[in-house]
Symmetry: C2
Subunit: 227 residues, 2 copies
DNA sequence: CGATTGCTTGATACCTCTCAACCCAGGTGG
DNA sequence: CCACCTGGGTTGAGAGGTATCAAGCAATCG
């Protein structure tokens, strides 16, 4: 289970390393020529649902969220994207999600037109596009299972265990996102997320350094909450 | 929003018509030679999660469900597949879902090996594979939004509206699946599904012919429940 | 400093689940 | 033919989990 586009290798978030090791497509393996490097400050929108999907993006540093909204404002975060992750790939003409900077972050954009031209020529690139889509699909399906059939305790535990794989030194999780982001990823409210984390602390499963820095003192127990 | 692999064209469930109009890949457009035609009786397993994924399938008639289980038996149905729909496409070596016959049904199987060989040669087929994966992804993401951020009333309404598009004569929905199937698709219990349908009947939004035959007497109202 | 933002905690409401009983149609066998 | 059984569906009562509403706290930033 992974929160986002996540190859199995796990690396630090240093941009160069990320680009070399985490990225399924690199300039070497078929992405069209690298586009402009863009910076976004916290909560800045990168693109909106319905915008013309003329570029795809790769995270260099920071964290990006992709999300959908209901008309009354309810939000579901589909995924958090970290360094090396690709986001914004669409089959149709428009983006089907919004994407925003969870924290200050840097992304590279690639013209979509160039990509499609290359794919029709390059069987390897086509294969990678298919592979990317299938991995995204698997992630979305696991997410649906989480949303549909797990309790709040299981959801929060799963989130911590998953996000811990993105942290450099195992055992300590750094949450770049707010409680609201976590709640909207898990289909909960901010209060339930907070209460569940507090419960984990009382049960000595985790220990807070700060609200955003958590030591997993008993990761096996957290993992066992995911059947 | 669609419940399953569903091109926008809507047709009856007659097999020949389905194969001609609903199927994104047909023998003509790149699927490897047609494999054996298989019949499954109600609730028979077609393949299990973890089985070697050596074939993909196309529904000829009937309805197939693909689902995942948690270790304690909780189930989530990912999708219902109707005539013309493809299911069982995997990137890895194993099926990531189980699939079972919702009712007596007929499917065609295709050797996966042949497909991959063709795809590496045929850019059009590669494109269709990518397109299939992206459509499945979009469906899974909408499903996640449903599971994570909608109430029971909204879920059941969305299900009825969606499933109605598969019925020949609009206005009447034939539910091939049990209440348990619906519940496991919506992340609810059987009782909540039943109560919600009864409530819709009291509110004159629907009318039961039988428990499995429902007239949508006020489809606009049902649709308006999906923001 | 005061204001703001993010987070936590408490009290209560309510939605959905759980457990149980019951109904109904269909099938089976005496 | 009818008693019985079974599986699917409905309904009720009550419990429980999560949401809602509200207050308070800590850190940050003008």
């Amino acid at each position: 289970m992974s929160l986002a586009f996540a190859p199995s290798t796990d690396v630090s978030s240093a941009a160069a390393q990320a680009m070399a090791m985490r990225t399924p497509w690199t300039a070497e393996t078929g992405l069209p020529s690298m586009g402009p490097v863009l910076h976004f400050t916290q909560d800045r929108e990168i693109y909106g649902e319905g915008d013309e999907a003329d570029a795809i993006f790769k995270v260099v540093s920071g964290v990006v969220r992709t999300c959908k909204f209901l008309s009354d404002g309810r939000r579901l975060i589909d995924a958090f994207h970290v360094a090396g992750d690709i986001f914004g790939v669409e089959a149709g003409a428009e983006y089907s999600f919004s994407s925003e900077a969870v924290c200050d972050c840097t992304v590279i954009s690639y013209r979509r037109r160039g990509l499609e031209a290359s794919a029709s020529q390059d069987a390897g690139l086509s294969q990678q596009l298919f592979s990317y889509a299938m991995r995204s699909l698997a992630r979305a399906q696991v997410h649906a299972l989480l949303l549909g059939r797990r309790s709040a305790v299981e959801k929060v535990a799963a989130f911590l265990v998953d996000w811990a794989t993105h942290s450099a030194n195992t055992g300590t999780v750094t949450l770049e996102m707010t409680r609201q982001d976590i709640a909207d990823y898990l289909g909960l409210t901010i209060e339930t997320v907070s209460r569940t984390l507090s419960q984990f602390e009382r049960d000595a499963l985790i220990a807070f350094s700060t609200a955003r820095q958590i030591r997993l003192t008993h990761p096996a127990a957290l993992r066992s909450l995911n059947s």
